[in-house]
Symmetry: C2
Subunit: 247 residues, 2 copies
C-alpha cells in the first residue's frame, strides 16, 4: 500500500480522521507508523496529499490530512477487452488499475465463452476492492470506470464514441507489423494531450467480422513481434508500451 | 498451444512421430486436426518446423515433421529477479518464458523472506512444465536457464559475469527518471546484436547496500514513470519495453 485511500465522505471539515480497520492495521503492523510521521493519502476520485500521524492506538490511527487542490488527471488510456475467463479477469483488475486505465470496457466476442459473463468477478462488490488495491499500489485515486457489454456490434457502432474520446484507437493483432509506441506517437502528432483506446481480443482472436468492424471504426492494428502472448500478458505488455509512448 | 514441443529424443531419423497423451489430446479435441493438415512443431532447444498430420486416432496422432536447419536464436534478455513469494513466482514462470528471457536468475535479497526459498515452485519438476507452457504460447523452443542464488553479494561479485554476457545492465528503480527503451537504445549503440540483463528487486525494493553493489557492477537505473507497480507487473512491463527497444 503506497497510498491510503479514503472514501469521499470519510474526511471531515477539520481535516482529521480516525482510521480503523484494515488500513489502520496496515499502518500500525506493516508500516509501524509513529506520531509525527507522514503517510501519503488520497480521496477516491479526489485529491492526494500527505497525512500526519497524530496518535497511534492498538487498532486505530489518528491522521491530519493536507490534500492538494486538484485530483490527479485520469490515465490517458482506455481499454476495450474481450472478456477473458474469470480466473484471468480476477487477476487483471488490480494490475490494470495499477498500470493506469481510465475506462475498462469489457465486451463479448465470437470467441468469448458465454459462461464467462455469469461470474461474480464481474460484480462491483468483487472488482471494486481489487481496483482500489491497484490504485493503492500505483498511488492513484482515479477509479477506472467499468462497463460490460454483451453485444459487440452495438458497442462498437453505437456506444463506444460516447464512452471514449480517444484520438488514437489501436487493436492488438499478433500478425501486424506496426508497433504500439510508433502508432501512439504518430497518432498523437499535433494532439499531444489526447487519449488512446487499446483493444485486446479474446484468447482465440477476434473473428473476421469483428476485425472489419474495428477497422471501420478507426482501430489501427499493432503487433508485438514474433512471440504470441496470452491475452492477459499481451494486455499488460501493451499498456506498458502505450504509457511509455505517452510519457 | 501455438507450437507442439517435442523432447529431443522423441523424433526418430524417419521424421515420423506417433504423438499420444496431452499434446495429442489437444490436437484432436481442441484443434480438431485432420489428415493432411499441418501444425507447427519444435524440438526443445532445437529447431522449429511444420508437421503434417498423417493419421488421427482416438488418442494419438501420427505426424511427419519437417524441421528447419537451425534452432531459433535465444531471447536477447536475461532477468535477475529477487525471489517473489511462491504464489507470484508460480504465475510468472509461463509469462516470463512467453515474453522471452534467456536466463532467469533468482536471488535472495534483504527484503526477500527466507521461507520463499522452501517452496516446490522452485523445483524443476514444478517450473519446467510452466516454462514449456510459455514457450508453446510464444512459439519458441529455447527453454530459459534457471538458477537460484541465496547469496546476493557472491552472485553479483563472482558469478553474474559468467552467467550473462549482457552489454547493457539495467535495474528497475521506481525513483529513476531514465526509461528502459532509451537506456537499451543508447547502451546498444555500436553493439546492435548485444544482450540486456534486467534486474527487478523485491516488493520492498533493494536496500542501499544492494543498490550500491548493482551500481558498482554496471547496472543503470531505469524507472517507469510516477506509478509504482507490483514487482511481477513491473517485471512483465519492463520485459515488454526492453524487447520493444531491441526489435
Amino acid at each position: 500500500m503506497n497510498i491510503v485511500l479514503l472514501e469521499p465522505g470519510e474526511l471531515g471539515a477539520d481535516r482529521h480522521l480516525r482510521l480503523a480497520g484494515p488500513r489502520a492495521a496496515h499502518l500500525v503492523n506493516v508500516l509501524d507508523v509513529k506520531p509525527g510521521q507522514t503517510v501519503r493519502v488520497g480521496v477516491l476520485e479526489g485529491p492526494r496529499g500527505l497525512a500526519t500521524v497524530e496518535s497511534v492506538g492498538a487498532t486505530s490511527v489518528l491522521l491530519r490530512c493536507d490534500l492538494e487542490a486538484e485530483p490527479p488527471a485520469r490515465p490517458r488510456v482506455d481499454l476495450l477487452l474481450a472478456l477473458p475467463r474469470p480466473k484471468v479477469m480476477r487477476r487483471l483488475w488490480a494490475q490494470l488499475a495499477a498500470l493506469g486505465v481510465s475506462r475498462i470496457v469489457l465486451t463479448n466476442a465470437a470467441r468469448v465463452e458465454r459462461p464467462y459473463f455469469d461470474t461474480h468477478v464481474l460484480a462491483p462488490e468483487c472488482y471494486t476492492p481489487l481496483l482500489i488495491e491497484g490504485l493503492q499500489q500505483a498511488r492513484d485515486t482515479r477509479l477506472p470506470q467499468v462497463s460490460i457489454h454483451r453485444q459487440f456490434k452495438v458497442l462498437v457502432e453505437d456506444e463506444l464514441d460516447a464512452m471514449s474520446d480517444a484520438v488514437v484507437r489501436l487493436v492488438a493483432d499478433p500478425g501486424a507489423d506496426a508497433r504500439a509506441g510508433e502508432a501512439v506517437r504518430s497518432g498523437l502528432e499535433g494532439n499531444s494531450g489526447a487519449r488512446v483506446l487499446l483493444a485486446v481480443g479474446p484468447e482465440g482472436g477476434w473473428n473476421a467480422f469483428e476485425l472489419r468492424l474495428l477497422d471501420a471504426h478507426g482501430f489501427r492494428h499493432i503487433g508485438m513481434g514474433p512471440r504470441t502472448l496470452r491475452t492477459d500478458t499481451a494486455c499488460l505488455a501493451l499498456l506498458a508500451l502505450v504509457h511509455d509512448a505517452l510519457a
